[in-house]
Amino acid sequence: MKQTEAATDLADEAFAAFAETLSQLARDVPGADFEAQLAQLRRILVEGAQLREQAFAGLIGAWRELADLGTSFAAPIAAFHAGDAEGARELEKQATELRHACDALGALLAPLPAEAFAAFATTARARIAERRPFESVKAVYDAWIESSEAAYSRLAHSEAFASAQSRLNQASLRLRAAQLALIEGGARQLGLPTRADVDELHRQIHELRNEIVTLRGKPASARKRVPRRRR
C-alpha cells in the first residue's frame, strides 16, 4: 500500500497547487478575455510544466539515480575485485550510456506539455463556443489530464518513443549485467557460490522434477525397475 500512500500525497499536493494556480488566474485575469486567460494558463501549465514534472520527473530521476548508483557501486566492487579493471570500466561505460539514454527520453518528452496544452486549448475553445465554461477547478484538471493523455498516447505510439524507451531499458539492463559480472568474478575468487552456480542447480532441479512427473504419469510396469539392495 506504500505506492497508494505516496500517490495520494502527490495527488493532494499537486491538486491543491493546481487550484491555487487557477485561483490566481481567476483573480488576475477576470472577466471576458478568454484568450488572455488561456494564454496565462498556457504559461502556467506549459512553461511551469507542473504536471510534466510530477508525471515524468520522478520517472526519469529514478533512472538517473540508477545510473549514479551504478557508478558509485563501482568503487567498492572494484576494490573488492581489484584485478578486474576491465569490468569496472564496463560498469562506468554502461552508467554513462544510461545517463545519455535518460537525456534522450527526457528530450523526447520535453514538448509534451506544449502538445497537451494545444489539445486542451481546442477543448477550451469548444466549450466557449458551446457557452459551457469550466464549472470547477476539478473540471479544468480533468480536461488537462485528458489532453495530456491524448498527447502522450500519440508520442508513446511513435517509433521514436519505442526506440528511446528501448535504449533506456537496454542501458539499465546492461548496467545491471556489468554489476553482476563484477560480483560474480569476486565471488569466484573467494570460492563462494555464484548466481550462475545457483541457476545451474535450479536448472537441474527443474529437469529432475519434470522427470519425476513423467515417471509418475507412466504405469508402474513401464517404470524402470530399480533392483532392491540386499541387506
Binding site: A16, P133, I145, A162
Partner: protein, 365 residues
C-alpha cells in the same frame, strides 16, 4: 466570455475542500486497507508445488447432500475450469461479494474450478510455457476429469490464461468440451496495441539473463506507463470523491492491492511468451510450437465464446476479435462489453450480465 465559471475565492475554497476530503480519505484508508478479499468458500483439491487447484461452492453442494437434495450425477453440470493469467493474482475473479464472477457462475449452477499459479520464486526460473500449459494445466484438467468421472471439461481462459487455454485446447482437444476466452489476446500486432509495440523492441533474453525471474514491479511499471496521467495521478485525485463512502474506499483499496500484487514471472516462461506472442505473433503466423508440438488454431472444433471489452487498453478488442475465422469451430460466438480490461471483472453491468450470458451459452450447447 469567461473560461471559468468560478472566481478566485471559489477556486481556493475548492482546494481547501479537496485537501480536507483527501485527509479524511487517507485516515479512512487505514481501515479500508484491511478489507477482506475473496467472497466464495473454496476447497483445495489438488496441489503441485506452488500451483493450487481450487473448487468453489463445495459447501453448498454438501449442504444440499445433507438435506437429501443432492443432484443426481447425470444432472450435475460439467466442470468449468478457470485458467487465469500469470501476471496478476486470480482473486480478481472473486474479489468481494458483489464483485465476483465466480459467485455469478455458481449462481448459474456451474461447477467452478480455478488454477492459482502462486508466486514463482528463483527455483521456478526454468519453468517454461510447456510446463505451464502441458504440465500444470493438463494435470489439473486430468485431476478434475478423474474426480468427476468425465472425459472432458469446459475451460474459461482469462487474459494471458485465455491464450494458454487456446494453446491447450489445440494441443489436447479431447480434454476440452467447450472453450470460453475472456479479454484474451490472439493477434498481438494490431496497431492499437501499445504494450505490444513496446514489447517488440525489448531484448527479452537480456531481461531474463539479467533478472532471472522478471519482477512483478517491472511489469507494473510498464502497465502504468501506458496511461501515466490517468493511472498515476488522476486516479488518486479522484480518491477525494470517495472520502465519505467507506464501502467505495474499501473497493478502491481492494483494487489497489490487486493491481500491485504482481507475482514475479518465471524467467523461461516470460522469455517464451514475449518472444512467441508479442514479438513473433506466432498464433497468427501459425508458427507456434510448444515442447515441439505445433499449435494450430484451425484444429479447434469446440464451441467457442470469445468475450472482450470495447475499451480495453491492455488487450484491445482488435487483439481478441482476431480469433474469429482462425479456428475450425463451427460454433464461434463473440460477446462484447462496453468496458475496460479491469471493468470486465468488476463493473456492475458485467457482474449482472456476464455470468448469465455464460450460463445461457453453456446450456445452449
Amino acid at each position: 466570455m469567461n473560461l471559468f465559471a468560478f472566481d478566485a475565492a471559489q477556486a481556493r475554497a475548492e482546494a481547501r475542500d479537496f485537501v480536507e476530503r483527501m485527509r479524511k480519505a487517507r485516515t479512512r484508508m487505514q481501515h479500508a486497507s484491511q478489507a477482506q478479499i475473496g467472497a466464495t468458500p473454496k476447497e483445495l483439491v489438488y496441489r503441485e508445488g506452488k500451483v493450487a487447484l481450487y473448487r468453489y461452492g463445495m459447501h453448498a453442494a454438501r449442504s444440499r447432500a445433507r438435506a437429501g437434495k443432492a443432484k443426481p450425477a447425470a444432472r450435475q453440470p460439467p466442470p468449468l475450469l478457470i485458467v487465469y493469467a500469470l501476471v496478476n493474482r486470480p482473486y480478481m475473479m472473486d474479489l468481494q461479494e458483489d464483485r465476483s464472477l465466480i459467485r455469478g457462475l455458481l449462481a448459474q449452477g456451474l461447477d467452478v474450478y480455478l488454477i492459482d499459479w502462486g508466486y514463482p520464486d528463483r527455483g521456478d526460473r526454468f519453468t517454461g510455457l510447456a510446463d505451464y500449459i502441458l504440465g500444470y494445466v493438463d494435470r489439473c484438467v486430468a485431476h478434475i476429469c478423474a474426480a468427476r468421472g468425465v472425459r472432458a471439461i469446459d475451460v474459461l481462459g482469462v487474459c494471458q490464461g485465455g491464450t494458454f487455454s487456446l494453446c491447450y485446447t489445440a494441443l489436447r482437444p479431447k480434454r476440452v468440451r467447450r472453450l470460453l476466452t475472456m479479454v484474451t489476446p490472439v493477434d498481438f500486432h494490431t496497431p492499437d496495441n501499445l504494450l505490444s509495440k513496446w514489447a517488440r523492441t525489448v531484448d527479452v533474453d537480456l531481461i531474463v539473463e539479467t533478472f532471472g525471474n522478471v519482477p512483478g514491479e517491472v511489469l507494473n511499471a510498464a502497465f502504468l506507463a501506458l496511461m501515466p496521467f490517468r493511472l498515476m495521478h488522476q486516479k488518486y485525485v479522484d480518491l477525494a470523491d470517495l472520502a465519505a463512502d467507506p464501502r467505495a474506499l474499501e473497493n478502491f483499496m481492494r483494487m489497489e492491492k490487486w493491481i500491485f500484487d504482481s507475482p514475479d514471472q518465471a524467467g523461461a516462461a516470460f522469455r517464451e511468451f514475449v518472444g512467441a506472442f508479442y514479438q513473433r505473433n506466432a498464433l497468427i503466423a501459425d508458427t507456434l510450437e510448444i515442447a515441439g508440438e505445433r499449435v494450430r488454431l484451425r484444429t479447434l472444433r469446440q464451441p467457442i465464446l470469445n468475450v472482450y471489452g470495447l475499451r480495453d487498453h491492455l488487450v484491445p478488442p482488435s487483439a481478441s476479435r482476431a480469433l474469429a475465422g482462425l479456428t475450425g469451430s463451427g460454433d464461434y460466438q463473440e460477446l462484447a462489453f462496453d468496458t475496460g480490461h479491469i471493468g470486465m471483472y468488476v463493473s456492475g453491468r458485467t457482474q449482472r450480465e456476464l455470468p448469465a450470458r455464460i450460463g445461457e451459452w453453456l446450456r445452449g450447447r
